[in-house]
Symmetry: C2
Subunit: 341 residues, 2 copies
């Protein structure tokens, strides 16, 4: 185990690959190693990339990785597919990337898919980020497929979130969905050589300024969950400047606009750090993570110590109106008498 | 308390109004009454109505209520606003309805908004439905504002779900969002006198048939959460017929298409019952509800028995890298030694 830890800290690709497999499988031996690695984390800058299918997220991540590599920066890529372990979307994405990035030991790519457990993917993605962080990767790109609630949860682990749009996909409306504009730190209009790109850009700018004022203060909406803390907006006091998400046009397939995007990400990072928001946002991320892990651990322990038959019986009793749901909950918690006392 | 129970069972509007306020405030005295009412529930048919703002959901709910009233059916309306207690959206909706429906003792209207607790709204909405059900309302219309994850959760408590679209809102794409098509039992194109209505209808039909095959088998995607049961699709065996969501055009403001919509809802209800799916779907709803209530009860008990200072300290230790998140969870659960044993 100690060998594994030092191998990771020395950036061994083999050790990283093996540990990521354990993390993704939620294998128990990963836990001890993650605990030992944890003090060595917190150095990487995590960039979340989300947006509807067809916007070219994978190509964009690919181009960004190349741009960072040109700066000599080590890049980790995690492609998250919450939809299904069977879609193969993430795997396809890897293959495309492999052509450009294979053979470069400064890049590490890993796909992650759900293995059934709800909420498990956000947890394993956080752990995977930590493995790459401890292994010395400076920039970690986390790409999600789709834009539902699970993607939003995953993206909340990032330091800078890119929301990717493309012209001709009914973008103006698409952006509204799932509060996706509200999580954007930088908006990217990819495939900017397509007709309608300028319209898409101005529609997004308009929404940022008028339709979605929330986009400008999105951090106010993030609450810590354990302490019920209301965190300040994306500024530390009332007179501090506000971060307004820039809209960047790119053509990821030929690298167009990628330098501007790298700059925009750096500007966001500088802003966060100059305003002293990094510590605050990290605390909030930790609070949310701890809350989620506790919730999950509690229900898992309950499920493990309760026979399936028992739940089936309770559900039958509720369905036949012999027992109401709240009394059922009370009975279950009482039968685990010292559950929390 | 017993007086309150019998008053509800006798359909007293005053008692219903009072109990709904307690439910909405999550007042402790509601619990005992809900337990006593529970055996008298399960008779109402619950219709969920969701869709983007601007599609005219409130007018549609209004017209549906009038149509059911013309049949002599008692109608309960719950307008759910998960976005904020301050938007006033639900209240405005009530005012418009009041003009048409006020003075009719066969209709009961109540707005529900979040009071802070995440996930609380799904729970209080379920309870509010039970109050109206026990009070003898035959049809309960549950209208949600917006179409995010919380709305989807709320809509999953319904027996028939209507997804409302309108022409000229970029509908084709809008429908994709948040898997909203996948939850539709009946699709409604409201404001059908607007230009583009026919296009919207055919786009939706195409999506149902080609783009979103999942819409046809959406019930497969609902899993029970406690027993990890995979429930069959919207058919009980492989040779049974499949429910294909019809697309109905309406102009809610002048009642156009409302009879067709009422028929479509009845067809869905008949289909569910004829196929024996009602028992199965109810079991699934109960399983999901019990899981959610258990999760919430466990974390609440933990939060209540743990001083805020303690969490603040743990979060500080995680942030300073003295402690990793998983070890923190283990420590917290161990300090509540007999938590679940």
């Amino acid at each position: 185990m100690d060998d594994m830890v030092s191998a990771i800290l020395n950036g061994s690709r083999r050790a990283v690959a093996r540990l990521l497999t354990w993390v993704s499988d939620e294998a128990p031996q990963a836990t001890t190693i993650l605990t030992q690695l944890y003090p060595h984390t917190g150095k990487a800058w995590v960039i979340g990339v989300t947006g509807a299918p067809g916007t070219g997220k994978s190509s964009l991540v690919n181009s960004l990785a190349k741009a960072y590599r040109a700066q000599g920066v080590l890049v980790g890529i995690i492609a998250v597919d919450p939809t299904s372990p069977f879609t193969g979307g993430a795997i396809l994405g890897d293959r495309i990337r492999m052509r450009d990035l294979s053979g470069d030991s400064g890049v590490f790519i890993r796909s992650m898919a759900t293995r059934g457990s709800l909420g498990g993917l956000a947890r394993t993605t956080r752990d995977a980020i930590r493995v790459l962080d401890a292994a010395g990767f400076d920039i970690i790109l986390v790409e999600t497929v789709g834009a539902g609630q699970s993607e939003v949860d995953i993206v909340r682990t990032a330091h800078t979130t890119l929301v990717v749009e493309a012209p001709g996909l009914g973008d103006e409306v698409q952006a509204i969905k799932a509060g996706i504009l509200e999580i954007a730190d930088v908006l990217v209009v990819n495939k900017a050589d397509r007709p309608g790109a300028t319209k898409t850009v101005s529609a997004l700018r308009m929404m940022l300024e008028i339709g979605h004022p929330s986009a400008r203060t999105h951090m106010t909406q993030h609450h810590g969950q354990l302490l019920q803390t209301e965190y300040p907006a994306n500024r530390i006091h009332d007179d501090a400047p506000i971060w307004i998400p820039p809209v960047i046009q790119t053509i990821a397939t030929d690298g167009n606009g990628i330098d501007e995007l790298v700059n925009a990400i750096q500007n966001h990072r500088d802003f966060i750090q100059a305003q002293g928001l990094d510590t605050l946002l990290e605390r909030q991320r930790i609070e949310i993570e701890l809350h989620e892990r506790l919730r999950e651990a509690l229900i898992q322990r309950l499920l493990q110590t309760t026979p399936n038959d028992y739940f089936a019986q309770v559900i039958r009793q509720i369905q036949s109106r012999q027992l109401d749901p709240q009394s059922a909950v009370n009975a279950i918690l009482t039968s685990h008498a010292d559950l929390i006392s």
